[in-house]
Symmetry: D3
Subunit: 133 residues, 6 copies
């Protein structure tokens, strides 16, 4: 159970409804997931977070599938159960296959392993990896 109540569309004020409408229109769905119903408790956070997510996750130099997979990878690495569930669904919707999920998780696991080996041994950065000015 979330630590604050969830705001359903029917109870929501105009500001929250406008965000909900934009979420449904942008994602072409007819329901709002719990994350937004909880954020609606604090309307400025709902609005700002949605606008940021909408801007960041739009196709650009990276396509939607790549962005969703990076989002899922971070959520798996951070071990956020809600985010893993919602972004596994999001990435699958964007085209992620079982084989892609398997490889994605393998990279997440490996990166977490080598991150600790590099930091745990305090490996120094090679000159070749430093950007040229």
């Amino acid at each position: 159970m979330p630590t604050v109540g969830m705001i359903e569309y029917e109870q929501a004020g105009a500001e929250v409804r406008a965000v909900y409408d934009d979420i449904m229109a942008t994602r072409k769905v007819d329901w709002i997931n719990n994350f937004w119903k909880v954020l609606a408790h604090h309307p400025p956070t709902l609005k700002r977070t949605w606008e940021s997510v909408k801007e960041i996750m739009a196709p650009g130099a990276l396509d939607v599938l790549t962005k969703e997979m990076i989002y899922l990878a971070i959520s798996a690495s951070n071990q956020c159960p809600y985010c893993i569930a919602s972004h596994t669904a999001g990435a699958r919707k964007a085209g992620m296959t079982d084989a892609m999920l398997g490889e994605l998780m393998a990279v997440v696991g490996m990166a977490n392993e080598t991150n600790r080996l590099a930091s745990g041994y305090q490996v120094e950065i090679d000159a070749a990896f430093k950007p040229k000015t």
Copy 2:
């Protein structure tokens, strides 16, 4: 300075040299970066880690660029300086442009933000996000 000494090719025994040779051949480079020289301190870790990285990072259902970007995203999220430096270099070599890096970092930042909002409010997972059996 790393907490153990680095093993240069000249000092290395046959087992370590074989790994170094395979790293250089696979990556088509003529030098070994510090990470491996430190791991060489414990040859079984060097061998196992390299073989895992080699298998995981080979092109498959995901291409090399996507894998390198996920690796970089995790390293940035975990704040591992060595890994950020080496995988920024690796992803650029695989074709990551400045615009792609900018979008990648935006997703990493956003995911870290929403992961804490979802967990901090203890949002419950929507039934729609649960896999069907």
Copy 3:
């Protein structure tokens, strides 16, 4: 279910009871929450942890509400479900309103985002931010 059994007041020895009594007296409550009942499994950890929490959370240069909000902020950032639940309750008891919770979570989310942007791009510390000697 916790990985060790919980020690109820009735089963507890004198050392554990003394801590339980002090917790209830200090907090002006008539029950012990599960965290302490699990720690009671290892009495030195129960005693030391309670004495540290009691000392640290007492009003000082920072008031109790500010301390509880910082505790909640860290727990949300670390994604510890038990700690989020107990410190949301604790902070509310100390006076945290819904509006304050909303702003607290917004700061937690933002800090987690910018921490990764700063580290992910390996931004160097400005001379102006370094303490003077």
Copy 4:
């Protein structure tokens, strides 16, 4: 050295300059710190991040000092060197004394300790800590 170049005011285009001007006006300073000069590499991230930070860190239900201290607490917990340095400076500017810093760090340390004890023993959430519906 950051993994992308920093954009100085003189080199910056109109969009970036507008953000820099707003940062300096809002904070009543005449210089831009490195974080923003690195983000300027990707103007949409610079603009969005600054606008979010500006909105979130403005006084509201929580005052500026409390917000800066929470930001510092998260940065210390996440171990982000740049963010610790910049937000220690920011919190001091907002009025944090040495005694307040000492207590803040004590809470951060303690929360990190008890978070692991609660999760490590898988303590179950007390019914009393669950929000009423």
Copy 5:
């Protein structure tokens, strides 16, 4: 519910069954725990992960109990519920007593506390702690 289906022995192909057989033989048990049944979804990850775990957790310079306790300590620190449950069981099987668990968790908690104090205050590394070349 995991985000991918679990593969039971009966459904498994030859490659997966070979790994399952080796797990049961190595551990002298007659069942497979859920972790492997989920990884079996992506056979290369199942095989590589099992072979790595088998190699790393075999007795060597460190005995099995010490290795299991370190594994549990990391899992508690990372707050991974599945891993805490499975490695508490694993460490107990290897001989960990209640008193050892109590001390282990105390160290995990303390290390998490002092890690943040050291990083939060940006303490510089003493020359005496740097390895000699």
Copy 6:
């Protein structure tokens, strides 16, 4: 440079000197490392932290070497540079060999990998891993 000044023995008041004396006597050394000199800035934190560390790290059901290795493992996993350096030194002093360090780091890396695989796939805890009541 730490964010607060360091307190040398000569400058220290009686309360801080008493802690410094106990650190040197307990550890049989004639110098104080930077961590304590920074904590001395806030004497209650210095005293409480030292007393906790002294109690927790004393030999008990686990010997000193095992405790130091767990402390190092957590510090490596958390990527705390100061703590890695000081506890690598501490563990070596307690008898950790190069081979033991190599195996310790391998376990740390592996646990970080499998923690993300278990959480990223949301593997459910097997009934067999749940404690009996």
